[in-house]
Symmetry: C2
Subunit: 353 residues, 2 copies
Amino acid sequence: MKICVLPGDGIGPEIMEQALRVLEALRGDGFNFEVETALIGGSAVDATGTPYPEATSKAAKAADAILLGAVGGPKWDTLPREQRPERGLLAIRKELNLFANLRPAILYPELANASTLKPEVVAGLDILIVRELTGDIYFGQPRGVREENGERVGFNTMVYSESEIRRIGKVAFEAARKRGKKLCSVDKMNVLEATQLWRDVMIEISADYPDVELSHMLVDNAAMQLVRAPKQFDVMVTGNMFGDILSDEASMLTGSIGMLPSASLDANNKGLYEPSHGSAPDIAGKGLANPLATILSAAMMLRYTFNLEAQALRIENAVKKVLAAGYRTGDIYEAGTRQVGTREMGDAVIAAL
Amino acid sequence: MKICVLPGDGIGPEIMEQALRVLEALRGDGFNFEVETALIGGSAVDATGTPYPEATSKAAKAADAILLGAVGGPKWDTLPREQRPERGLLAIRKELNLFANLRPAILYPELANASTLKPEVVAGLDILIVRELTGDIYFGQPRGVREENGERVGFNTMVYSESEIRRIGKVAFEAARKRGKKLCSVDKMNVLEATQLWRDVMIEISADYPDVELSHMLVDNAAMQLVRAPKQFDVMVTGNMFGDILSDEASMLTGSIGMLPSASLDANNKGLYEPSHGSAPDIAGKGLANPLATILSAAMMLRYTFNLEAQALRIENAVKKVLAAGYRTGDIYEAGTRQVGTREMGDAVIAAL
Ligand SMILES: CC(C)[C@H](C(=O)O)[C@@H](O)C(=O)O
Ligand SMILES: CC(C)[C@H](C(=O)O)[C@@H](O)C(=O)O
């Protein structure tokens, strides 16, 4: 099994190191792997002038799965568009056809206090957001800034084809089938024709999933309902742009986004796995970052790409044990628990395996 | 002063009745008005076959300000696109050039418990969201569903011109100047060229407002920060689509959207005023609905269109008194307060004037 490792920027390298140590500790348990490390994001720009170098593209294509740390930082914010770190992320998603982004928003009971929401509103929260990742206004043409009547006009195109909607819809229905059997599709069909098509196709697909209860919600209402009563949701499916917004909102409901992994899959379950949080340049290199989202991303990789459910569960249970034992990095620390650094957290997970 | 009154659907007529009674009670106090009532939304479809009849358009154009209840309901959800109630809303906004949507998200101290967020996170919340309302992907061309390679493809266009951005930017800077002098502009400049232009123009405008502190936030981060630490915001400004989502999210942070008014203004402060909540068909006609958001919308009308600051404050203070005295409609009721119906709430406000 070939894993392409992309540590990226900021805290990326240090959290990745712990995820790799955890995988190393599992080696042998039905699981062997090779690692190829490559550059992405700002560190790739620094070394090669581009955020997604040819060598990285090659390594990613050759691998079965990709594990990514984080990209970005103020250092690269003023670069021209094509050289910004996040371009690397968009490029790898598109090139490898990673259209299905799975983002769980789970509140661990031990971390209930971290949420800004009242405990009764979020206790037991377990939402899976399925976000389409290679279409929509992110990649739609035409796009740009043109001159019109003597002024600048900026434009982008939201576009979805039936087949794009159908393939992400199927992923979402399958996921719902394995969970609470409730799927909420989010659109803005009362205004946008592209999302009216989205809703129509979701309804068509639902005929093949009589065991899954499909509902629909407008995106503005979904943004409200996530705050009002988030536990009403099981699986949510939506387009790239709305998914960007709603998945971040949902993850912040937990108050502990340092805990949340993500997967971005192609049609054959090749995937890119990364924590939902950013590169946190302010604490980079200090050994303070929370490696658990990256470790849990490695678990998702074992589950989705390598079909190693038991090993994925071993990691997830080890993380739960470590939380139960009171280990906390700074981002999730509260009085009465034991504050540890990045590496000690990795040690604790390995010990708990 | 000519007010065009559009009660609309669901609870619209009953909440409007109370707002008009409150205005009636102020008659004489430097303020005289004429009312012309017209149809909009589903009730207009029922009577005339269209959600924005010619007669309504005429009445709205002839008036100085428009007071609207709410539109929509399941009854009209299956109608063809052009006949859906919300088309009436989109049409009047566009026809009257109501480009500046002001949506306060205020948490009244007496209602702090209504929020799903912890009291310390939302106590004292007072955000003003300035949403552009006549541009963006809501109205952009081309749009529709076409056939391509034997499948349907849905598409919409996000588009903003420099002058559209500049005029809403100015409204937002002026509003910030009168409040906490902090303006956060929300975009997705790392992906969308249209919103890169948005950010560029906001920076250009800021030169004229050295006393206002301008910051920028990506829309996904804004959706998170509203949950994480909403009190960091004073005024937020964003486009039509992002504003739709973020203003609803922000209003739900208060837990009491039955309290929140809104204004939609043109370049001459002619405006449409309406509650932020919907038409609540489930409780329509029962005398249970909360009229306060509509009453507070009438106060916004006095302030923005008629320049009657003192009278606007009289209404707002009356609403505060009524809350302090414990009056509550069902949506904001909690033990120890006094539950009243729509009309009794109107009575209480009038008594407190
Ligand atoms: C960095 C950015 C381009 C990216 C996105 O918008 O998709 C990020 O916000 C995410 O959600 O992974
Ligand atoms: C009803 C709908 C068209 C409308 C919008 O999306 O603008 C509503 O959600 C609003 O925010 O006023």
